[in-house]
């Protein structure tokens, strides 16, 4: 248990550094991949909804602390992604190798819309129409593209983690 906790903390630390310092260099049209969100999706798919929710809350909290404003927004958004990704995958999962891609796509949409709603409530003027076109859709596509690179052994582990057989 302690080992898993330390492993999760270490992984989050590495992903945060990469997200803040390296991911901006991979930006296309101003949109960069969200490595922390993809980490949350990965955790949710391999370790279940509770672990995904906790890791999501921690990852989002770190993002909020880096910004120093609107604390709790990304934490809640990522926690929701962690909680719902595993459950949606369990319910709708088939013997599909593209589960990480679909999970990344849906998780990104959920996280960005949740963050957008909370930021709006907190007073940040973010228009939805242009936001969907300029931020949400491109982010979903980029994260899904990165998720394609997930190795096959990871996908099989994700299937095992969800208690679904690997099929023929």
């Amino acid at each position: 248990m302690t080992g898993r906790l330390l492993g999760a903390v270490g992984l989050l630390g590495v992903m945060t550094v990469l997200q803040v310092a390296v991911a901006p260099r991979a930006a296309v049209g101003g949109i960069k991949p969200d490595l922390l969100l993809l980490t949350v999706v990965g955790y949710a798919l391999t370790r279940g909804s509770l672990a995904g929710c906790l890791v999501g809350a921690a990852a989002g909290a770190v993002e909020d602390f880096v910004l120093g404003q609107y604390l709790g927004v990304r934490a809640l958004a990522f926690a929701l992604v962690g909680l719902l990704t595993a459950r949606a995958a369990t319910r709708f999962f088939g013997d599909q190798p593209l589960v990480p891609v679909v999970a990344a796509l849906g998780g990104t949409a959920l996280a960005e819309l949740t963050a957008w709603a909370l930021w709006r409530v907190a007073g940040l003027p973010l228009p939805l129409g242009t936001g969907v076109a300029r931020v949400i859709l491109p982010s979903c596509l980029y994260n899904a593209l990165v998720a394609v690179l997930f190795p096959g052994w990871w996908v099989r582990r994700a299937k095992g983690g969800l208690g679904v057989g690997t099929g023929a």
Binding site: G13, Q19, V20, A21, V22, G30, I31, L76, P127
Partner: protein, 292 residues
Amino acid sequence: MRIATARVAAALAVGLLVVFLAGLTAAERDRVTVLEQAVREALRPPLEVVVRVQEAIRGTAVTLLSLPRIREEQEKLRAEAARVRELERRLAVLEEENRRLRALLGFRPPVEGRMVGAQVVGRNPDNWLSRVVIDQGTRAGIGRNAPVMTAQGLVGRVSSPGLYQSVVTLLSDPGSAVGAMVARTREAGVCYGQGGTELLRMRFFSRDARVEPGDQVVTSGLGGVFPPHLLVGTVVETFRGDYGLVQYATVRPAADLRSLGEVLVLLPGTSPSEPVPPSPGGVPSAGREGPR
């Protein structure tokens, strides 16, 4: 049933707590909490290492790719050096003359005060906001709302100062607002970031503001945060909104906000040296700068 109700109640409680916390921390603070500072300090060393490694890799790659051209350029540079030495001699003469003339006119540079150089070590993790992390903080004398600029122009202001690192809100951030004016006609307004794009939207105080594509936009100094006459950007297009009652312009920032490396932070005490006369349309009432 009871379990489902309890879960819904718990989810609602968490949601309300987050909304409360986000609202509480929506306003910028002069100091961050100990927990936030601890997280930032934990990330600082690896961030600086990663940035140094990136710079080293980029420098090595550039050098290797440039080797074929270097020898040719060497010859050209030798001839250039001789010419530059002559120009330097003439420049020294002109500088002395300039100094004498400025003293005669009582001229002062647009910005007086100290500046601190800082390197950008990271950017905001999400894709909505436009913020960068710099490697200087309150230990270097940096406070909240300190203007940040590059040689090309204004970049933004410090929104969350830490001990050794600070977060800078860029001009293109949706929470950014800068008092600005058209350099040519002195028509005043406010430049807002839009989020998701580097372009700014300028809202003029006058309904019939004289502005054209290509006009340069500078800070007006009216909001009290940014000194006047700092270059903001260039007008790309003008249009009317709000049933034709308001004049807008799209402004492209002068500084490349997507590729920031080194920046300059203006320290407290930096003040404008010239008062800004009112625009022909009347003195605008407190166009508040900084966070919207």
